[in-house]
Symmetry: C2
Subunit: 150 residues, 2 copies
């Protein structure tokens, strides 16, 4: 007899939430140590290269109007600068300052160290877990939210 799929899925969703919660809690704690609110930290972590503000809104999956405030905070802290695009004068590119680069590196270092400790599995299991979870994550982008239909 096979296990009840509903139960397995419920278990799975619970574990996924818990694991992500642990990752997020650590990210927030690391951010707090660096004096950064969560959203600003998330923005900073995503700024691998100069990018228009619009792009940041897409990354953070939030309305463009929020980005203004988040970037205001990062600019107030001296971590990014707004640089107007000479080609299209509506666009402003976000450029990290030296201090911004430094904090970004610390932020990523902290997250990664925690992840390594968290995903403490034998290599075979680690690879298996990565493959399975990636399949779910990749397939999931095509699923309509709150409808359950593809």
């Amino acid at each position: 007899m096979s296990e009840d799929v509903d139960l397995v899925v419920a278990d799975l969703a619970d574990s996924a939430f818990r694991v992500a919660g642990l990752l997020r809690a650590n990210f927030h704690a690391t951010a707090a140590e660096l004096g950064l609110p969560p959203a600003q930290a998330m923005a900073l972590a995503n700024l691998s290269a100069p990018a228009p503000m619009r792009e940041l809104a897409d990354w953070l999956k939030c309305d463009a109007s929020n980005v203004t405030g988040i970037v205001d905070g990062l600019e107030r802290r001296g971590l990014v600068k707004r640089r107007p695009d000479p080609e299209d004068r509506r666009v402003k590119h976000l450029v990290l300052t030296e201090e911004g680069e430094r904090k970004r590196a610390l932020l990523r270092k902290g997250s990664h160290a925690h992840a390594v400790t968290l995903f403490d599995l034998p290599e075979k299991d680690l690879l298996r877990l990565r493959d399975l979870l990636k399949r779910v994550a990749d397939a999931g982008v095509g699923i309509d939210v709150a409808s359950g239909c593809k």
Copy 2:
């Protein structure tokens, strides 16, 4: 040659975040359809039986002072009632109304339907993923946040 563990872990953390993000986005959307803000929905989902407000604060991992506002919202919507504990008159138990039970069921039904669609894997993989993720989640509770040390 084995793959670089750092890369695998980074990939894994990314997938875990994405999967949890999908689950959460769906939960919020389902909550919104029921006219519930996220925190109130989360509280409602956790109220399987009458519980003291303090317990809810632990579940939600937030300060007790927040719970007052969240429960105010649920009470305003007629979904829960505060019932004083006769044994310890400091304590108030949260009891779902009939409408509260109804919305709670709908909320859980929506989440679960989405999870079933999301975790659309052959049974063998499904069980494997559940086991691996559960191991990580269970082990993770013992890890200090933002320090990476056990």
